[in-house]
Each structure stands twice: as structure tokens, then as C-alpha cells.
Subunit: 262 residues, 2 copies
DNA sequence: AATCTTAGTGTAGAATAAACACTTATAAGC
DNA sequence: GCTTATAAGTGTTTATTCTACACTAAGATT
């Protein structure tokens, strides 16, 4: 199939650029069809204070004035959908290079009373410590983190969007290693387990949890990549009056699919 | 969370309808932002002649005139995205009530040379026998089924869309029972297995395959729903010079998630 | 030295997955 | 009507994975 795609590309550039085509495109009327507005919204998750939080903004204007909403905005004509979503994300949190993926596109007529609005929703995972203090944006009078388990009433169909995002997040955590997006570079295994417990909202067995993690230990003769995803470091977290916990690191900070990771 | 959503709905209707809001909406300028075009495309799969096929249309006009493309069209302002996709699907195939789900939204600038086009892609599964003979639509000079393993060069970024759809289809088959969408009401277990083999493009073990299927047999005392998904019928397919195969039926033709179905 | 707290570790039994070959029922050919 | 050809149908053994479960270790505080 990869081969087919290549040949398609070659063929495309042959087909385009002909005289006929130029004439056709010159005549093409971009206003032939009435167009909906397109926005990107970003469901931004973080884990903080032993809780799964989502970033919401309080609307300054109608419709749904004063209500809380998922941050988002109109797509610029020249930027990709993902770039638009990243722009929103950075405006709100100040962080760059975070994990983001497209979630779903919501486009029912009537979901915005002003006009037909189609919203391409994304979800993002940010590490709590990287986020700068929140400030209100141009269209928001306030911005704040809310526990996903204790949400205010939301504007538009955003309760549905958030529900969808939470389902997807759990799903992703189950079979990929995106959890590391929610942790600093060095972390203890207990901290990693807490991420899973908070997101899934249920306790996990410590021994079973650790057994599933593909950890490269320090002594171990480094088996020619036996699928390790986490490596021990020689550092420890000395904190609290108890045995120190060894710090670990994700080997490559690239999200990878791992079947039945947890 | 469900509870929160309800309260959100109640609160919304309170917040809306105020005098302030009506004034605001009256002033709202729907042309404030330049808007992209939005289309829905539908990747329509079927299994026929021992092969996984996808429906493509040959473009009548520029851009990409004469090339093959995934069927689709502009979204009407008053219809939902899914309704638009279903309309396209029905125009092409004549079938209704088929399985369809949103796939992904493609919106890179430049993917259509005419203007910014954002495409919400869907994928659909149709039973081969229900599809009427294909006919070209208004913007297509031809329509045809192609093996996904032997595709022509495709217009726009449709090779990418199709690739994405195929990945999703395989994924769905693995952990849901959507396969029945590709079969008639009554089917043999070998036919069901063939669907999986064709989509995954690899042979499966007959005995292991059958063991995983939650089948309610005829004699069996009907265990108060032990998760049966398929039931035996007392009919057989008498065809070919060999032992007849028992016909089966999906118990409820509703798509359901079944972890590790195959 | 005793106490408190979290870190860290193994095993046995159950469930699931994978590999593998022969018998059965019909139609066709003789 | 006997033989042959073809796909249908069916169990067991082994390896792997999942689950439940409890004690020792290391440091801080008193």
C-alpha cells in the first residue's frame, strides 16, 4: 500500500498544472456553497494534587456567557487544524511540545446558537509543573483547572466533548505509554502507578503493575532491545521519613503503542 | 459524570434566552471570520469475491480530473456531519441503515488547490449483496469497487485517508463485532472466518477462531445471557459437493465492544 | 533503640492463547 | 451403489498471561 501511495503522488503532480486545470481553477467560485465556521477546541488534561484536572475557561460573552467551556477558537485559513489547536493550547498554558491528538469532530447544527459551527476537538496531556499560572484570554474572564470528577455546568455540548475525551484518555493509557506525558523526566514507579490510578479512578496492585512494566535495570546485561520502555537510574527520591524510591526514566519520549500495557 | 451533564443542560437553558443574549446575538456578525469549506467523505468498504473492496469514484472535473477519489461532498448547513456522510453513502450505493463511524478530520491547508477544504472522513461497512449496481454521480464520470490491496493512484490526500480507514477497520474488527455488517443475516462460520481473514490478510486457525465466538447452540439450555453474540439456526447451507454448513445469526444486530473478540 | 512510613519483591492457581489432525456429511463420477 | 473429492466440524495439550496476596528493606523521627 505504501508503494501505491507513492505512485499516487507522482501521478498527481502530472495531472495537475495542465492548461485545462488552470482555466478551471480560475473560474472556480469559492462562494458557491455557504460555509460553516470551523473551530478547534483542546481538552487539556493534567494530573495534580492526586487528581485528574482539565483546563476550562469562563466565557466573557454570549452565548453561554459566564459559563465554563473548553478552550478553543476559530481556525486560521493558513494554519493546519493541529497548528490551530496547538496555538490555543500554548495561549492557555504557555507550554510547547506537548502530546496532543485529534479526538473527534462535533458538528451538529444548533450546537452553537450563532451559526453553524463545526468543532474539531483535540486532547492534550501536559505535565503539571510545566504549566505557567493561568491567565484569562481575550474571550475568557477566567481560566482554571477543574477535577474531571467535579465539573461545573459546561457551555455548548462541551460536557459531551469532555466525556469523549476522558474515555479516549483512559483508552490510550491502557495500551500506550502516553502516561509519561504527565510525569517529569525522572519519576518513581509509585508516581507512575498513581497516574494510572487517578485516571482510571481505581486502585491497582503494586506488584502486578510493576511486573508489566518493561524496565531495564542497571545491572542487567542490556538484552539487545527486549522492548524496554523504562530504565532505572542510579538516583533516588529522598523525601519523607521512609525508604527512598528509585527514580526511573522513559527510554525514548516517543509515544508508542504497547498492547496491553496495563 | 452523567449527572454533571444533566445539570449542565438545565443550566444552559437558564443562561440562554436572556434579554442581553438576544441583543448580543442580533449584533453577531457571521462573516467576521473567513471560513473554510467543509466536506464529508465516506470510505465505503465491502467484502466481495474473497477480497476487501473500497468504493471509489472517478472525478469528472478538476482538480485531479479523471483520477479516482473517495466519494464525498459539501456539508449542507442544516444537516449534521453524519447525515451528510449518510447522504453521500446512499447516493453512491443505494443502501440505508449501514454501519458508519467518524474516522478522522483532514484539514491541512493546500490539500485542495481550490480553497481551504476541511474533510470530515467517515468509514462505512456495507453488505455486498445489498449494494445496487454502481452508477456515476453528478461529479463523477464513473464509480467502481477496488481491492484495497490493488488501488489506483488517488486524488487529493485520499491515499492517506484510505490508509487510515483500513487501519481503523482492522482495529475495529479485532475488538468489536462489526464484522456482521459485512455479512447477510444468515451466514456460516466459515464465511465469518473468511471476513476476518480477508480484512487481516492472513489465515486464521479454524478451531481457535470458533472457540472464541460466543455461540448459543440449539440444544444448550439458554444460560441467562452468558454473553452470547451468535446463535445457531436449524438451517444449513447446501452448496457444493461437501458437508453442508450450519447457518448462524447475530443475536442482536447492534455493534458491541467485545474485548479481544478475535 | 524503637517506631513509623513507603519501597520493593515472588509464587501458586486460574484463565487464556496457541498449536495441531482426524472424522463427518454431502455431491459427483464411475 | 461404491469410490472420491471437498469443505464442515470437533478436543486436547502446552505455553503464556493474569490475578490474588504478605512480608522484608531502608531511611526519618522520636
Amino acid at each position: 500500500m505504501a508503494k501505491k501511495q507513492e505512485s499516487a503522488t507522482v501521478n498527481n503532480s502530472e495531472a495537475r498544472g495542465s492548461k485545462d486545470e488552470h482555466e478551471f481553477l480560475a473560474k472556480y467560485d469559492v462562494n458557491k456553497y455557504e460555509r460553516p465556521s470551523v473551530t478547534t477546541d483542546v481538552v487539556i488534561f493534567t494530573v495534580r494534587d492526586n487528581d485528574l484536572k482539565v483546563l476550562l475557561v469562563q466565557r466573557r460573552d454570549y452565548p453561554y456567557k459566564d459559563m465554563w467551556a473548553i478552550p478553543g477558537g476559530f481556525v486560521n485559513m493558513s494554519e493546519s487544524l493541529e497548528a490551530g489547536a496547538r496555538r490555543e493550547l500554548e495561549e492557555e498554558t504557555g507550554v510547547q511540545d506537548v502530546y496532543m491528538e485529534q479526538l473527534y469532530t462535533f458538528g451538529d447544527p444548533g450546537r452553537d446558537p450563532r451559526t453553524r459551527v463545526i468543532t474539531v476537538a483535540y486532547f492534550a496531556l501536559v505535565e503539571a509543573r510545566q504549566v505557567r499560572p493561568l491567565r484569562a484570554g481575550s474571550d475568557a474572564q477566567d481560566a482554571n483547572w477543574f477535577s474531571v470528577y467535579d465539573l461545573p455546568p459546561l457551555a455548548f455540548d462541551h460536557a459531551k466533548v469532555l466525556d469523549y475525551a476522558l474515555t479516549r484518555l483512559r483508552y490510550k493509557l491502557e495500551y500506550t505509554n502516553v502516561a509519561f506525558q504527565l510525569l517529569p523526566e525522572l519519576f518513581t514507579l509509585t508516581e507512575l502507578q498513581r497516574i494510572y490510578e487517578i485516571v482510571f479512578n481505581r486502585p491497582l496492585d503494586k506488584r502486578n503493575f510493576r511486573k508489566k512494566l518493561p524496565i531495564r535495570t542497571l545491572e542487567q546485561t542490556p538484552d539487545p532491545d527486549k522492548g524496554y520502555m523504562i530504565e532505572e537510574t542510579d538516583e533516588f527520591k529522598m523525601e519523607g521519613s521512609h525508604r527512598p524510591a528509585r527514580l526511573h526514566r522513559f527510554i525514548d519520549r516517543v509515544d508508542r503503542v504497547v498492547r496491553g500495557f496495563i
